[in-house]
Structure formats: structure tokens, C-alpha cells
Amino acid sequence: MKILLSWLNEFAPFGDDAPFLADALSSLGLEVGTVVQVDVPVPGVVTARVLRVETHPDAAKVRRVWVDAGDGVERHVWCGASNMSAGDLVPLATLGTTMPDGRTISARGILGIESQGMLCSAVELGLGADAGGIMLLDPSGTAGQPLHDALGIRADWVFDVDVTRNRPDALGHYGVARDLAAWLGLELAPLPEPVFGGDPRPLPVSVEDPAGCPRFTVAVVTGVRVAPSPDWMARRLRHVGMRSINNIVDASNLVNLELNQPNHAYDLAAVADGFAVRRARAGESMVTLDGERRGLDPDDLLICDGSGRPVGLAGVIGGLDSEVTSTTTSVALEMAWFEPLGIARTAARHGLRTEASLRFERGVDPQGMPRATAAFARYLSATCPDLVVHGPVTDVSSAALPAPVRTVSVRPSRVQRVLGVPCDRSVLAARLEPIGFAVGAEGADGSVPVSVPSWRPDCGGEIDVVEEVARHLGYGSLGSRRPRSPQHGGLTAVQQRRRRVRDVMVALGASEAMPNPFLAPGELEAAGLGSGSALRLANPLVAEESVVRTSLRPGLLKAVAYNQSHRNDRIALFEVGHAYPQGSGHLPDEYECLAVAIAGAEAPAAVHAWSQVAAVLGTPLQIDQSVPCPGLHAGRSGALARGRQVLGVVGEIDPGVLAAYGIDGRVAWLEVNLTVLLAEEPRPARAQSVSRYPSTDFDLSFLAPDAVASSAIVRAIKSAAGQWCISVALFDVYRDGGAAGRGLAYRIRLQAPDRTLTDAEVAEVRSRCVAAAAKAGAVLRG
């Protein structure tokens, strides 16, 4: 919302210290974005009388204009415009003047004849939008005056204020002035009531939907003549970002911007039979002011003329032929209070957010119509001195209209408990009364009845009034202290363990990616995963981001492909993030995952990564290659499982999936469920005394079919070796390409806690291990 300082100054003497006032507005919650100075006088531009206009035979497009700048000297200037004639008073930028656009007027002429200045259009002087010709001033003025003095224009300031949605009153200059005057301790000028004249001219108004339109008023204004607005009105509109149309439309817009009261002036002749307010009928349509034919919804509220023809989409936009015309002599000034949510629905449905709908949505003053009518007459009387507002005005209202005065019971003790500063009735009165609240007498229970003004729909409860008190005490005056937390701050075990997982990943050389969790349809399938359990967005921004991921795999594979295509080396990426598969409950079965992709690496790299994670988390899992892992290399992948519970997968990405993603080479892959693993904090390990006796190693070399997992052999050896077994380590794998499988060599270390093992004991363990391995499918090699 653009706020013009000179406009505020009409209501209280704020002065012209714009930066100070901008800070004050921000302190009140009316956050000022930019502060721009406008109508800055241009030194060197003076009024000049046109003496005569000559054309030049060699320059058909320009004219040589002779002017008197008040000093009796005849000067000539070249001019591209032709709208001036002898006797006119025009603005002359004298030599050396720096124009608002930065250029300096020089004597550079044409055809060897210098130009002794420049005649200016309104747009060149920053005084209007009219670039059509030289600005013609009131010819009764004198030549040689500084232009801004002649025009009576003073430099002004525009504040761009970000009005929060709880403050509809601040969508008008008067509301902003009220808040600011209270803050600065200045007196606010009261708004005049309308002055009626002539005979009453009631218009029939039928409101079929009193809940949607609890108040509808029409004032008949006669003695109107459509004309351009005076400069000061046009300038005011221009500075707040609106175009001047004519005196009637401008007055209507100015009232809106001054009092946050949308209104519409109809040609009285067009609505002589009055108005009807009703919901649209199924299949009905109307052409709105912007020229669009709009299909209407039965929920849309319409303003119709006496014959039932729609003349406006209530609270949003007028109808195409509802505008005043050049022949208008009387207008019906309509104002209303509409139910805010209905207007919001209509505006959203038609994709129309207008000045009016914005205001009605947030809530205009249900009691503001009389003063807005007076303001309309005031603006219009500048060009229509004979206008008459016929009163009393037609005023149809229903019980659905918010009560003129709402009373909120406020406990000063509560204010004190929330704000932390002393509060009693007098504090409430001092802070609230200047902004229009009425503070009653303290009741027996200590509470104070506070009447909320009709323009503050946001203040419905005690806490809303507390905020008003805080605002006008000033947030900066409420003190500052640090509460002492009685608890010990810290991370939970899960949070600490998550950090350790990230540390392991970083130590392994992987970098953390954050891919988009929304996928294109088919992306999960491309990664070899099903999409049956995937949720879909009901309102995706784009279809390519409409499937909610059930795995981190598509995102990381895309990141790998991206990095490869950008020739990045040694690609190792990880992600810690959520997957969101469907569940049977209200919320999906969302869980946290760790995924790692190492490009150019084979499955053991992923197993290595897993063993690091498992060591840090203290959560060993078996690699079970009998469990199929969709999307992973069938021969180089396995589930990370604990019995039947599968908590992850490890291995390599399936070559077909790699091809689908356009990835070269292999990609080692690890994916585990962190929600489960992080939660399983192992108990602190119990110390085992290290044996002081020597340990003994023996090696066993087996031939085992590929189907027999090394881990199964290790398990068999460990359990056969019994309590003395310190470690079983695979130290050699040998493949000769034969069908019999591969050779596996293990080193077993034995140690007793209390003595040195005898050769006989070691030999016995060894034979038990051989037998157990044989049972597991591994044959001892000769």
C-alpha cells in the first residue's frame, strides 16, 4: 500500500521528516519498504510566456518558439511539440538545468541556431503521465516564476507500506494517520459527517442474501458534471500508483484509498429502478469492467439493477456498462459491507484480486459509509461546486452486520503477564483510546471492558487487545531478559548418531546431496522400483514433480548422472532424507534413510561403506543375497537384514537402471533405514579383559561354490571354534574360472583367557572348524 505523506498531513501535523516517520510506521508494524521523494522542484525550470511560434522551412518537424521568461528578453527554443500558441504560459527549462532524468539542458541547437532552453512536457518534469505535448499552465499566471511555486506543488514523499492482513484499517490513509498520530502524540482531525441537501431520493434496494451482504447503502448525488480531475487529485492518485480517469471515478478511488471503503458511482439513469443484491444463477454470466465475459458460480454474489441485470460482481469488480459517461449528471454512490469469506471465494474463483476484493476480504469498516459518502462529495465538489447529496441515503442492513461496538473484557493482570510490564486501567486507556478504543471502568473482578472500534475486525479477544497495548507501548520498551531454561540442552541419541553417520560419509569421501523429493511419473520405475506405494501430489507445480518419493534412489542417481555429464570426477554422493511410502494410517509410513552412491566403484565399496556405518552405529546386519533387491545388480546385491527384517540394501545398481539414467560405469549403492537404526542405541559395551596369554593362529583354505556365502562359512567356523575364537578373517579369495566355485582362505585366531592353548587343543578346534565348514558347503583344499 502506497502512502503519501502530504495526504497523511491532512489529518495530523506529521511534518516532513520522512525517514523519521518511516521508522515510526515500522515500529507500529506498518513496515515501510521504500521511501521515495516525489514532486521534487527542478531548479531552473520557470514559467515562460509564448510570444510567437515560427516554423522553419528546413525542419518541418520542429518549431522555433519565442518566449519571455519574465525578464523581458526574447529567447528562442526549438520544440518538437506543436500544442502551444502565442499567449500560452509554459514551463521553460533554462540553460544548465538538470532534468529529473539526469540530462542537462545545453544550448545545442539545430540548423546552426542554438536553443536557449527547453519547453517541457509534464512527464519530463515528473509531474504527470502526459507526454503528448508541452505542459500548458494557467495563462493567468506570471512569467519567470519557479515552476513548482507557480503550480503550488511541494516536494512530497511516498511510503511503500506492507500492511499485514490483520490491519484492514491501515489500507486507508486515514487509518495509517490514526495509528501514527497516536504513536507521536498528535491530534487526529475528525472525519466530517455528510451534509445532505435537496429532497430525499430513496432508491429501492432488495437484498436477497442478507448474510452475504449485511449492509448496502446508496446515496444519490446530483449536480454532477464529468470532467478531468484537478491536478492535485490526479497527482495524488498517480503517486499511489493509480491513473486519473475523470473526476467521478477519481473521487471514488480516492475515497477507497483514504478510508478503506470500496464504493461505486453508477450513472443514476442506469439504476433509476434501484438495486438488487443476489447470488448468481446457475449458468449465468456477465461482462466485467475488464471486458471479460465471466461464467458465474451460484456462490458468487451479484449487484444488479432494478431489472435484475448484473451490474457488478459484488465486492470484486464492476460490470462493463456500469461506468459513468460524459453525459452523466447524477450518480448513485453505492457502498456495502460484504461477508469477507464469500468475497475471498469469489475473488479466488475468478482469479481476480482487486483493490476492492482485497479490502472486503480483510474487512472494511461496517460503519464507515456515511463518512465515506462525505469524503466522496468533498473530492467531487472540487469540480462540481453545485453537487447535492440527497439524504437520508438508502441504507439496508441486516442482523448479520457486525455490531457497531464490540466489547472485550481485558484483565490488566493478563496484559502484565504476557507483556511483562506493569499494567492497569490507566495504561489501557492511554494506549488504546488514541486509536479509537473506549476503555470502561474497572469491574469488581479487576477486568476492564474495552470497546473495539468498528474498523478493527481483527480485535475479537483479550489477546488481540494485548497486542494493541504492546504496539502502542512500543515493542522496544517491553524489556529484554533471557529466560533460564531449567533443563539441560542437548541432542538426543538419535540426533547424535545421525551426525556420526554423516561424519562417516564425509570420511569416506562422499558429499551430501539434497535432491528434490518430488519425482516425475515413471522415475521410480526407471530406477527399478515400483511406484505402487508412492503418494501423488494433488496439486503439483509441474507434472514432472508430482510423485512423492518412496526411495532416495532416483534422486541420487539423477545427481550422479548430472555430475557425470558435467565431467566431475570421483563421484560419491550421499543423502540423509525422508522417504514417504503409503501406509494404512492417516499419515504415510514416512521414514528416514541414508543412501550412498559411489560411481565407478563395485559392490565391495558399498559393503565397505556399510561396515563403517554399522561400526559407528553398533548395529550389525547380515548381508542376505537370497533376498531379491529390485533395481540392483542381481548378482551383486543383497538385503541388509536381521532375520526376516530387511533394513536396507547394499551392492551395485542394475546395469539396465544405469543405462536408463545414462550413467557410465558401475555405481556402488547402499541404502538403509535410519529411523530404525538410529533409534537402536547399543548398550555401553562391557569391558572384556585382554588375555595375557599368547594367541595362536591357523589358516584354513576351502573350495566353496559361489552359492555358499563367505559370511555363512565364517558363521559356521565361529560357532564351531567356540569360546576361544578371537577372530575369523578372510584373507584370500581365489578364482580360477572353474565351475567349482572359488577358493576362500581364512585365518582363525584362538586365545584362552587363562592359559596358553596346547597344540592338541588347537588341532581339535581346527578339525571342528573344518567339519562345520564342510557342513556349510565349503570343502577343505588339499
Partner: protein, 343 residues
Amino acid sequence: MGGAGDGHLRDEIAAAGAAALAALEGAGGTDAIRSALAVQRRSLAALKSRLGGIADVEQRKECGRLLGEAVARLERDADARLAAASESERAAAVAAEAMDLTEHLQPALFGTTHIVTQALDRLVDVFVGLGFVVAEGPEIETDFHNFEALNMPASHPARSEFDTLFLEPVNDLQRRSPVLLRTHTSPVQIRVMQSVAPPIYAVMPGRVFRRDTPDATHMPVFHQIEGLVVDRGITFADLAGTIEAFTKAFFGEDFTSRLRPSYFPFTEPSAEFDVRGRDGAWIELGGCGMVHPDVLRAGGVDPEEFTGFAFGFGIDRMAKERHAVADIREMYTNDLRFLRQFR
């Protein structure tokens, strides 16, 4: 056997002693010294066996003393030579093993955490230091937790400002009440209040979602951190003091903060908070306020017994500013050339 024989042995001892030293002197390297030493020990030992042949006791003693001195000289000399030789051999061996330590065929690979994670951890650590615990919640939320409990019932106009991404319902529960991607971390406030009784001093970082077209400063998926304090006797001054303590702890002692009135449905009074650094310019950081009584009630907390405040701000922007990232979208390209800059 007479004196002449004694004199002869004495000369022999002197000659053998000199020869032994000469032999060591001629030996280069520890191995040669050791073998020369062994030979010379033997030759001196051979002379010792002849001492018994000297009849004169005094003469025998004298020859024995001379022989002893020759052996000692030999051993001393050998020790010194061995020490010097092994030292120079060690030095030569070390010199022979010299490497160019800058011949990196495969430089170590550094991994990095994402700068958003780094910022999140830093923020969390500051709040942990201020006595806060860290709470987490689901990223897909119910309408109740994301909106209703936060004082935004279905008809609340402020909802339209959140650009919410909804999920297509897949079961009756969701058909009755749609689920959505949380638009802020505030629903965790409700979950915390529902699960633990005050006093509550918690921060809630996490991923949030808006139906926003990405641009240089916005992503549809981003991160926030939210704080919630609920206790007896909490006032607006505690909010201001906490924001100030955080500002100094996170940005530095020469930074300060201020609160300005604003509007959020879930807090009242509401404020924006700004921080000001060395350059004197105020930068808007986030929103905060006293927890609205309706929100406390929705969390199962009696607003007459307890008061509280909440605050929240974006993490991505903190990371972006800290590392002077020009375009926030760059943080989400997952390009290793970008990621690996931030160790």
C-alpha cells in the same frame, strides 16, 4: 726360556695390537668392521695362551697387562667405528628411500556435508548451549497440526498465503481430512506440546514445502528452524532476550536484534525480528511472538497457567548468506564442484 723370549712376546703383543687397529681402520662398513674385529680378537687371544710360558712372574704380569690393554684398545676402537659406520649406513639407507611427497596420484577425497546441514548444525548447537532440546516431526502432516491447531481453521484466509502442496488421498482417513507437505516447522510445536508437559524449551529444525516456483531466493523445498518456549511466567521480555542471546551467540557479540510488530495467526503479539551487524544495516531474519492462547490450548496447555513464545526463520538463507551463494537454486543442483567447496 729367558728374557729374550719375554721381550719377543712383548714385541709381538705390541705388533699384534697395532695390526689389529690397522685392520679395523681398513674395514669399511659395519659388516667388515665386525669380521675384522673377530679376526683380531682371535689373534690377540692366541697370544694370551702363550703367557703361561713366561717363567718370570713379574714379566708374565707385565705381558698380561700389555695384552689386556691391546684388547681393550681394540674393543674401544671397534665400538666407535661400528657406531660411526652404522650411523652413516642408516643415513645412507634413509637417503636412498627419499620420496617426493607431492607426487599425489590419487589425492585424498574429501566429502562434505551440505551447507544447509552445516547451518542447521550450527544453529542447533547455539540453541543447545542456551538450554534447548531439539525436536523433530513428520514432513507430511495433517491439516490439524499444520493449520488448525495453529489457529488457522479451514476458513482462515491466511492459509492462502501458504501455497500448500496436498497429497492425493489413498485411504478413508485421508479422504476425510487431506494430508499435506508441511508448510512450516510449526506443527512440531503442537506435537511437542501434546507429548511433553511444560516447561518446554525446544527448537525444531527441518524440511518444509511450498507450492512455489523456484527462483534465485526461493525453493519449493527448503528448511526452517523454529523455537518454542512454554513455561510459567514467560513474557515478551523473555522472547526479546532469547532472540538477543541467539543473535550474539550465532552472529557475534557486536550484533544486536530488534522486534517489530507483525502478524501471524499462531502468535500474538507477533513480531518480525531484525538483526544488525557491523555495517549498521538491519536485516529481517524471521518471525516470532507470544504463543496464541488458542495454540497453547490446541497443544493441551492451559494458557492461564502457562505462557510461551515461539520464533522461526529460514535455514537456507543463513547458508546462502554465510557462503555468499548468488542463487539459492545452486545449492540444490547437487553439483560436486559446488558441494566440495564447503568443508
